[in-house]
Every structure is written in structure tokens, then in C-alpha cells.
């Protein structure tokens, strides 16, 4: 009898299963909670991956040119990176817990599909990166002189491991957007069930995402270096310090903008691959639910280009002898007509057709050649006139970028009252947008060429830059981070109501496209939190000190 009761009790206990309580994030809801934590984690991760690229390049320049300023710059950036490294790990852990708690079934599904990545490769890479980063930082002073080359090699190794880590973790992320495309006649479910790890990693959007994030991280690193410089410039007590941080801001901005020039094309490549994977993603992004997100992106890109060129303007103003610098008037004319010429070229020969490159080369090279022909080369404009024409065209190019087919949240609601007239519809199409992006990039390159000439021929007075320039540097970092948040949101939302596009539906009631306004609140919130932490790290890590470095 007792035995019977025992067996019965055991059977009852076996039959009962205490269910896990449902997790519901207060106020934000589960999806927004995951979004916020993921966004925050990605910002820190981008910093610790972008800053070392920036630092090792600076260290190498210092070594090559025997200029200790670069070495100091590199070390200061790495010092902040080391502090923020723990934040990356912390937010990464937080992200994992929040994701597992709120979406347990899907999280388990994803981890099981990429088990080797999540359980072995990624942790090993992270540990390796940690070891190299700390060795790189703590050996800075002991590996001077003849050991400097080895120290730079260590920095390069750090970046290689960092980049591999980025590529590895991008695999599951990209897989969620574009899971392996099934072969003809095989269903996607069947294909993914039988696919190996590599098939799932090397999906449609993996490499475009890798390149986009890599270039984005360099931009990010440059702008954050600019932010560090701006803060330290404001805190500096001596002309010597101001001189150094003015120079640091200049270098940070130059690298940030240099990488920024590639970003529109990297973004285009990623969008192209997403559309190629599934043509219905394109209208969702450009014409429907996300169209106004891209409108906002246009505004942000325009502001970033305006600000970076304004920084050049302020920098030029403190160069003695800049009045003597002149630029071929044909370049100015080319800039004025560039949106129209390239818009037409890309309409006739849309990428990837090569014929448009002839127009591109002609627009860029003909003005330069005309400027060298005797009798014609006297047509020149001053540096300031050229930059003013540039600003005018930045506004024009951004206006083209931001002109939508219709001022509506989705084309389904479009009426004649909010749509472009029939004759002007070209303004809303990709050739016009590409031409606008190219004009922005070309203008910025022209301004930098002119700036470079001014530095070589004139005398730059470091430390005497307009104080407003420091706010421009801060603006650039803030806006770049905000735009990263916006575009990250867009990439995630292109999965629509799926966790993994077309494969794993999200059955929760939150599986819809949030409004742009709602998204903007959260993106701003995340940007502010990130900014506050980075600002704190800069202020506690770096102290202005009298430097023996001669800024010249």
C-alpha cells in the first residue's frame, strides 16, 4: 500500500510541470526592451571595434612620421576603449538575458541553429580580443622605441580579431533578415533544416552587413575621437593643450568623414542585397511602412554632411594665407550641374551597368583637365567661394534626397494632394537619389582637397579655432550615433512580422511596425544613455595636462 502511494505520488509529481511565468516588460513591452538593450549593446560594440582601428592607424602614423602627437592620440582613445570594454560585455550579457526571458522559444531556436557560433567561436574570440586589448594597452609604455613596430603589430592583430568577431556575430543577425535562399524546388523550411552552419552564415546580406558595419565603425571611431577632443578642448587650461586637442578634433573628424563618404554606398549595397533576396522588402522600405524612416535618414545625412563641411569652413578661417588658395572654376561648375548630369546618367544606365561610369569620370575629370589647359586655366574661384557653392549644393542635394514620391506614411494612402506631379516623378526614383548621394560625397572630397592645399600653402594656427567648432564635433558624434540607431531599427524592421524572415513568425501582439515618432523617442533615449556613459568615461579617464608636445 505504502509502495503504491509512493509510486502514485512519484507519478503525479512526474506528470506535473511548473510552467515558467510569462515575462512582460513594464511600460516598454518586450519587443521595445529587447530593441533598447540590443541597440545599446551594438553602440558599445561598435565603439570597441571602431576605436582600435582608429587608434592603430594613428599609432602607425606617429611611428612613421616620428610625431608623438599621434601616439598620444592613439593611447588616449585606447584608454577610453578599455573603460568601455566592460560596458560592452555588460550590455551583451543583459541583451542575452532579456532576449532569453522575453522570447525563450525563438532564442533557443536561434542558439541551436548557431550553437557552435554562440557556444564556442564567439566566446573564444571575445576572450582572445580581451587578452589582446589589455596587452596592447598595458604594454604601450614598455614597447616603445625599437619595440614599437611589434606593438603596432599587436594593434593590427587586435583589429583582425575584432573584425573576425564582428563578422562571426553578423552571421546570425544577417540570417534573421535573409535566411538561406532555398534552391529551386526545395522549400525554405526544408532547406534550412538540412543546411550546415556555413550555409546559414553565408547568407545574402551577411557580407554587405559586415562591410556596412565595418565602415560604420571606423566612422564612429573617428567621430568619437572628435568628441573626446571637443570635451578635452573645452577643459583645457593652456594654449598648448588646446592646440593638441584642436589637432585631435581635426584628425578625428577627417577619419570620421573619410569613412562616412563610403557609407552611403555600403548602405546601398546592403539595401540592394535585401531587395535582391526578396523584392517585397524594397517597397516596404522605400514606399510603405518605412518610407518616412528613410526621409528622416535623408535629413540626418544632410545634417551630418553640412556639419562636417562647416567644420572645414571653421578650420579654414584660422589658416593664415587661405585667401590665396583658389580652385578651378570648372570644378565649381561641375558641382553645380552634378545632380542633373548624374541623375540622367543613372536613369539611362542604372547600376550595375558600367556605361554610367563614363559620365561619372567625365564629370570628375573634365573640369580638372580644363583647369590645366593654358588660356582656360585662369578661370578660378576662391576657396571661400568654392565652399559657399558647396554648401548651396549640399542643401540642393539633400532636398533631392529627401523628396519622396508622396508625403504619406505608406503609398496605399497616397492621393494627388500629397504626391509629386507626374512630370517630376523622377525626383523620387533611385537615379536621382544616387546622384544626390554622389554630389554630397564629391563636394566633401573637393572641400578636403582644398583644405589640404590651404594647410600646405598657408600656416595653420592650432588651438585658435572658433569655439563653435567644438559643438560641431559634438553634433557630428551625436548625429552619427542617432543615425546608426535609426538605420539599425530599419534593418530589424525589414523582417516585418517575423523573427527570422519568412521562416519563424513572431506571434506576439507587438509584431508590427512602430511609428517613426515612437522609434525616434527610443533612439534618442538610447543615444543619450550611450552618450552619458561615454562622456563619463572620457571625463574620468582623461585629464588635461601640460604636454611637451609641440603642435605645429
Amino acid at each position: 500500500m505504502v509502495l503504491g502511494l509512493l509510486i502514485g505520488g512519484a507519478a503525479l509529481a512526474y506528470g506535473q510541470e511548473v510552467p515558467a511565468p510569462q515575462v512582460d516588460f513594464p511600460y516598454t513591452g518586450n519587443r521595445t526592451a529587447v530593441w533598447v538593450v540590443a541597440n545599446l549593446h551594438i553602440l558599445f560594440a561598435a565603439f570597441i571595434l571602431g576605436a582600435p582601428i582608429f587608434a592603430v592607424v594613428a599609432e602607425w602614423l606617429g611611428y612613421k612620421n616620428n610625431d608623438p602627437k599621434y601616439d598620444r592620440l592613439a593611447k588616449e582613445v585606447i584608454k577610453v576603449t578599455v573603460i568601455l570594454y566592460s560596458m560592452t560585455a555588460l550590455t551583451g550579457g543583459l541583451f542575452l538575458f532579456v532576449l532569453l526571458g522575453t522570447y525563450p522559444d525563438f532564442s533557443t531556436w536561434l542558439i541551436q541553429h548557431f550553437f557552435l557560433v554562440f557556444a564556442v567561436i564567439y566566446p573564444l574570440l571575445f576572450i582572445l580580443e580581451t587578452i589582446i586589448l589589455y596587452t596592447y594597452f598595458y604594454s604601450w609604455d614598455s614597447m616603445k622605441g625599437r619595440l614599437k613596430g611589434r606593438h603596432i603589430a599587436l594593434g593590427i592583430l587586435l583589429n583582425i580579431v575584432g573584425t573576425v568577431t564582428l563578422f562571426v556575430i553578423d552571421g546570425p543577425t544577417a540570417f534573421m533578415n535573409t535566411p538561406a535562399k532555398a534552391a529551386e524546388g526545395v522549400s525554405l523550411v526544408e532547406f534550412v533544416s538540412n543546411a550546415g552552419l556555413w550555409d546559414k552564415m553565408a547568407n545574402y546580406s551577411w557580407m554587405p552587413l559586415n562591410l556596412h558595419r565595418l565602415v560604420g565603425n571606423v566612422t564612429f571611431g573617428g567621430f568619437i575621437a572628435g568628441l573626446i577632443a571637443a570635451y578635452m578642448f573645452m577643459r583645457s587650461k593652456t594654449d598648448e593643450e588646446r592646440s593638441y586637442y584642436d589637432w585631435m578634433g581635426f584628425v578625428g573628424n577627417m577619419i570620421g568623414v573619410g569613412a562616412l563618404l563610403l557609407l552611403p554606398f555600403m548602405g546601398y549595397l546592403l539595401a540592394y542585397e535585401l531587395c535582391d533576396y526578396d523584392a517585397s522588402i524594397c517597397p516596404y522600405m522605400m514606399a510603405d511602412q518605412l518610407s518616412m524612416f528613410f526621409e528622416m535618414q535623408g535629413a540626418m545625412i544632410g545634417l551630418i554632411f553640412l556639419a562636417s563641411n562647416y567644420y572645414i569652413w571653421l578650420s579654414l578661417k584660422r589658416i593664415e594665407g587661405v585667401d590665396q588658395i583658389r580652385m578651378s572654376g570648372y570644378v565649381a561648375l561641375s558641382v553645380l550641374f552634378m545632380p542633373a548630369i548624374m541623375g540622367m546618367a543613372w536613369k539611362m544606365f542604372p547600376p550595375p551597368e558600367w556605361q554610367s561610369l563614363i559620365f561619372l569620370a567625365a564629370t570628375v575629370l573634365v573640369p580638372v583637365m580644363l583647369g590645366k589647359i593654358p588660356g582656360l586655366k585662369n578661370f578660378t574661384v576662391s576657396a571661400f567661394t568654392m565652399i559657399k557653392i558647396g554648401f548651396l549644393m549640399i542643401v540642393v542635394a539633400d532636398a533631392i534626397w529627401m523628396t519622396p514620391h508622396g508625403f504619406v506614411a505608406t503609398q496605399g494612402l497616397a492621393t494627388h494632394e500629397v504626391e509629386l506631379p507626374e512630370w517630376a516623378q523622377e525626383l523620387a526614383l533611385m537615379p536621382a537619389k544616387n546622384a544626390a548621394a554622389f554630389t554630397l560625397v564629391f563636394l566633401t572630397i573637393v572641400n578636403y582637397i582644398m583644405y589640404n592645399r590651404a594647410i600646405k600653402r598657408g600656416t595653420i594656427i592650432w588651438g585658435k579655432i572658433d569655439f563653435a567648432s567644438q559643438f560641431v564635433l559634438i553634433f557630428l558624434a551625436f548625429s552619427a550615433i542617432w543615425t546608426m540607431g535609426l538605420m539599425g531599427t530599419v534593418r530589424s524592421l525589414t523582417r516585418k512580422y517575423f523573427h527570422v524572415y519568412n521562416l519563424v513568425p513572431d506571434f506576439t501582439p507587438e509584431a508590427f511596425t512602430p511609428t517613426l515618432s515612437y522609434s525616434a523617442w527610443w533612439i534618442t533615449g538610447v543615444t543619450i544613455v550611450f552618450y552619458a556613459v561615454v562622456s563619463f568615461a572620457i571625463l574620468v579617464t582623461l585629464k588635461p595636462a601640460s604636454s611637451k608636445v609641440e603642435a605645429h
Partner: protein, 268 residues
């Protein structure tokens, strides 16, 4: 002096901005741009003005200590406010529209998924039932009369029947076919052919074949789109049999010969 000169510059450039903005608005009116675009052009003119005002602004005085900190905080608040306001002023997509649509799409999938879970529960209950029977038998052999009851599990409800053509039209909306195909004069952006007369040009079997295998047919004049595989080949994975049947039934009714519909060509 410098301040006076800057004030003059601000005034001058603002007036120039207003004049250029005005010219743009009139030009836009004459060329049939709707008012919203006219406002946008005016804003760009004023943005240009602001840029040129900034270019000639006198150098900013150096800020230190609390003043610098205060200026930074104000700057961050302004930036945050500007970006939130900028994003909020643009037209907002109403999530409620999409939520209803998604609910319709996912309902059947969720039901099937729950059916799958129910099947799993039934299987587990059967195992438990056998175990309970074994224990009961064991208890009986010991002289006890214990009974173990296993709760019965009901299957999922069968899908409700309805007008198949109306359901097909609903599928047209839910699968967002209108994004690429123009129908009844709306939708489509030249990515796919107009379909108003497709029911006269293709049999239901051919329509089904095209949906399940987009490479099987090509619309005349859409060679580039065909080669690039613009029509997604995902519907065989995403749609259930009855959804495809409904969509095919709806498309078969489209026989408006007055609308020029590209001729379908059998490919493979």
C-alpha cells in the same frame, strides 16, 4: 560693431531666403506641386539661409567650467528635441492598420502551430495514460482500487468556410501583391505587370504554377524583372493550400479586357 554687422547679415540673408523661398513656392505652384511640397521647398530655402548666416557668424566666445557644462546640456536637449520633433512631424504610419492585417495572416499559422502543440500534448497524454494504466494494474495486483483519470484533449477547430473569391481578394491585400501589380487602377510601380485581364490570359492551373514557381511564366515586356527574379519565390512556403486556392480563384475572375494586360509566356 561686429554684432551690428552680424545682425545686418542675418536680416539680409533671412530676406534673401524668404524671397528665394517665395520664388520656389510660386514656381512649384505653377508646375502643379501639391502644397506640402511647396512648404518643403520654402523650408529648404530657409535652411540655405540659415547655413549662410552661420558661415558669416562671428567667432564664438570660449566657455569654461559651469558655463561650458550648461551650454553642453542645453545643446543636447536641443538636439534631442530637434530629432524627436523632426521625426514626429513627418507622416506616421498607423500600426493599427498593420496589426489587423498581421493578425489575419498569423491567425491561421498560430492555430496550426497550436494544433501542433495540441498533437504533442495528446501524444504525451497517451504515454502518461499507458503509465497510469500500468500503475493501476500494479495497484490492482496489490489489492487497491485506485483509478487514474486522464483529461481528454480536443483538437483545433476546423477553419470556417466562406466566399473563396472574397478570401482571395483578402489574400491579394495580405500578401501585398499590390506593391508590384497594378489592379483596378491602383498599386504597382512597374515592378510587375497589370493584372486586370489576367483571368482571360491564364488558366487557374497556370496561375497557381506562377505563384508557386515564379520562373515558370514571364509577362511580355518584363524580361529584366524576370531575369532578376523580381517576383519572390516565397509563396509556396508562406501560403497555405486554401490561401493559394483562394488567391487563384480571385485572379481567375479578373477578366477586364479593356485594360491592357501583358501576355504571359510559358518559360519552363
Amino acid at each position: 560693431m561686429a554684432n551690428q554687422s552680424f545682425t545686418k547679415s542675418v536680416l539680409k540673408k533671412t530676406i534673401i531666403g524668404i524671397i528665394i523661398g517665395g520664388i520656389l513656392v510660386v514656381a512649384a505652384q505653377q508646375t502643379h506641386f501639391p502644397p506640402i511640397f511647396q512648404i518643403m521647398f520654402f523650408i529648404y530655402a530657409m535652411l540655405g539661409s540659415l547655413v549662410f548666416i552661420l558661415l558669416d557668424a562671428p567667432p564664438m566666445k570660449r566657455l569654461e567650467g559651469v558655463k561650458a557644462l550648461g551650454a553642453l546640456l542645453v545643446f543636447y536637449v536641443l538636439l534631442s528635441g530637434l530629432y524627436i520633433a523632426g521625426a514626429s512631424i513627418l507622416p506616421q504610419f498607423d500600426p493599427a492598420d498593420e496589426a489587423g492585417k498581421i493578425e489575419k495572416i498569423l491567425k491561421i499559422r498560430k492555430a496550426r502551430s497550436e494544433q501542433g502543440k495540441a498533437d504533442e500534448l495528446i501524444a504525451r497524454a497517451k504515454v502518461l495514460d499507458e503509465r497510469a494504466k500500468a500503475i493501476t494494474a500494479q495497484l490492482s495486483s496489490l489489492g487497491a482500487g485506485a483509478q487514474v483519470e486522464v483529461a481528454s484533449t480536443s483538437g483545433a477547430k476546423a477553419p470556417a468556410s466562406g466566399d473563396i473569391i472574397a478570401k482571395g481578394k483578402e489574400q491579394w491585400e495580405l500578401q501585398e501583391c499590390y506593391n508590384c501589380h497594378k489592379l483596378f487602377g491602383s498599386g504597382g510601380k512597374k515592378r510587375g505587370p497589370v493584372l486586370d485581364n489576367i483571368g482571360s490570359l491564364m488558366t487557374p492551373e497556370a496561375l497557381r504554377e506562377k505563384i508557386l514557381n515564379p520562373k515558370s511564366w514571364m509577362a511580355e515586356g518584363f524580361d529584366k524583372q524576370y531575369e532578376k527574379g523580381k517576383m519572390p519565390d516565397k509563396y509556396r512556403d508562406l501560403m497555405f493550400e486554401e490561401e493559394i486556392n483562394a488567391l487563384v480563384a480571385f485572379l481567375s475572375t479578373l477578366k477586364d479586357t479593356s485594360v491592357e494586360t501583358p501576355k504571359p509566356i510559358k518559360m519552363n
